[in-house]
């Protein structure tokens, strides 16, 4: 109950934020949408990765399933975006069930490996098929839904927020229910879990399915928001890794860890990508813009955010494997 209240307060606070930032600040709103999206993605991943302890390294597949199905149905058949999103969930569910039925009878490294293989098969197929736009991707000029202006950022801000709140609520509900207990038992010890009557494959599949459905909705929202997708944006292994990393940094298997991780990582990536850090160093007078260091930073820092992710991953696994929230979780 306590957590439900905190989720409600979080939702109300975040819903009011744009009123203070205002429409005239689309850049900030854009970053906030990215934060909400990554928080939702990472929270959805947390259900299978954090609670059931089954690390999926292929969640981009479910994101891509939502994104591609939605845009293809609008682009080729002029269907309503909501139908597209629903169809995306069906596709994601199929991928999840196929992956699950192949690997959930196995243990250890296999799920991680198979989840990557499935995601790669989907990425390469999308790249090679014509109806998916191949390497060019899909560009959509205009989307409308019930007369709502989908060219503005506001609907997507609230869309992503709603998805995040739903994901957090589902997580909290699961955590308090039989399924949540069973998932955590599976994470802790599979032999003990199955000796206590837990059908391992059934519960893992259930968790993966829920996680995949939520992830696919995020993909649909993203596709409608950006209106351009290609495999490197929505199906790349790097996206899968970013999703995991966000959860790891915040705290795997905790309700708020993924949200915290997204609040830290997304702005950091954005600051690197937009050269904000380089500019700040110049403004502070630490580095001269025309010096060789300044030029190097200016040329390269924008590409360095993946390098920084790599460094953070290594440091995090070595020094903070339970994430930031793990530091505060005390033995009662």
């Amino acid at each position: 109950m306590k957590q439900a209240l905190i989720i409600a307060l979080f939702a109300a606070f975040t819903a009011l934020l744009p009123l203070f930032i205002g429409e005239e600040n689309p850049y900030i709103i854009g970053i906030m949408i990215s934060v909400l999206m990554m928080a939702a993605l990472s929270s959805a991943w947390n259900i299978i990765g954090g609670f059931a302890g089954q690390f999926s390294f292929g969640h981009a597949a479910y994101f891509g399933a939502g994104a591609y199905t939605t845009l293809i149905l609008i682009y080729s058949f002029e269907l309503n975006p909501l139908i597209g999103a629903a169809a995306g969930m069906v596709v994601a569910a199929l991928i999840a069930l196929i992956t699950g039925s192949i690997v959930f009878g196995l243990r250890g490294h296999y799920f991680a490996l198979a989840s990557i293989a499935v995601a790669e098969i989907i990425r390469l197929s999308v790249l090679n098929f014509e109806f998916t736009g191949g390497a060019q991707g899909i560009l959509l000029a205009n989307v409308t839904l019930w007369g709502l202006d989908l060219n503005s950022k506001t609907p997507f801000y609230y869309g992503m927020l709603l998805l995040l709140v739903v994901t957090l609520t589902v997580t909290e509900y699961l955590r308090k229910s039989k399924t949540g207990y069973y998932l955590q038992a599976i994470r802790e010890d599979q032999d003990a879990a199955s000796s206590l009557g837990i059908n391992l494959a059934l519960y893992k599949n259930r968790a993966l399915l829920i996680s995949a459905l939520l992830t696919s909705v995020a993909g649909s929202l993203y596709a409608l928001y950006i209106r351009f997708i290609d495999t490197s944006a929505v199906l790349d292994l790097r996206l899968s890794i970013e999703i995991i990393l966000t959860a790891i940094i915040g705290g795997v298997g905790t309700l708020w860890g993924p949200v915290l991780g997204a609040l830290l990582l997304v702005p950091l990536a954005e600051a690197l990508r937009s050269n904000m850090i380089g500019d700040a160093l110049v403004k502070l007078g630490l580095v001269s813009e025309t010096s060789s260091v300044g030029i190097f930073l200016n040329d390269n820092l924008a590409h360095a955010h993946v390098l920084v992710y790599g460094i953070i991953t290594v440091l995090c696994i070595l020094y903070l494997p339970k994430g930031i929230l793990g530091l505060f979780r005390r033995v009662k």
């Binding site: 308090k176 229910s177 039989k178 207990y181 069973y182 955590q184 038992a185 802790e188 010890d189 032999d191 003990a192 879990a193 199955s194 000796s195 206590l196 009557g197 837990i198 059908n199 391992l200 033995v331 009662k332």
Partner: protein, 242 residues
Amino acid sequence: MSEPILKINKVSKHFGGNIAVSDVTFAVEKNRIFGLIGPNGAGKTTLFNCMTGFVPITSGEVIFNNRKINNLRPDAVCRIGMVRTWQRVKPLSSLSVLDNVMVGAFAITGSAGAARKIAVEKLAQVGLADYSAKLAGSLSIGLKKKLELARVLATRPEMLLLDEICGGLNHTETASILQLIRDVREEGTTILFIEHDMKAVTSICERIVVLNSGVKLAEGTPAEITSNPEVIAAYLGGGFDA
């Protein structure tokens, strides 16, 4: 003689060329405390693994409540009422003691409230009530064994398979666990008991099967077993405290 709840019929288990269990047959009557003993490597734990679906049987049958259960998965075996503990305890380490027992209770209820109620009850029964909020991984070995017991009891088993539940415990702890087992039997549960500690086995079991190198060596009452020359030669040579 009451009707047997469990029948082990010519069960064998081979690992490649190794014969871990060979042609073992015995039956456990309802509501008994039945002992399964033998030196290290006799095949006791392998037999447990076979009975509970963790490893497939090479040949023979396991019959529980007149139903052949050879091919059931471990979780299904639990759901029909036969539940095991582990020689090397398997606590769900980063969950609380209460949550551990709730996981067991969810085998018989879908409601978290009901599961919590059962868990509280079972924790009180084994004397772990004060530890409810502690993380399972932080308990001492003796308390972990009690936790295992509470957890399986929460599934309301018809039959309990206890794999060296007293291993590594001191005399007081052993005595309290044995008393718990007697109480559980009073409530109507049948118990199959693997144990190394001969005193524990002979004091509590009504009937005992002795395994040696995967083969059944003898079966009988504790008195018969302790006076059987073959058993003494194979196992008890060093005295009762082996």
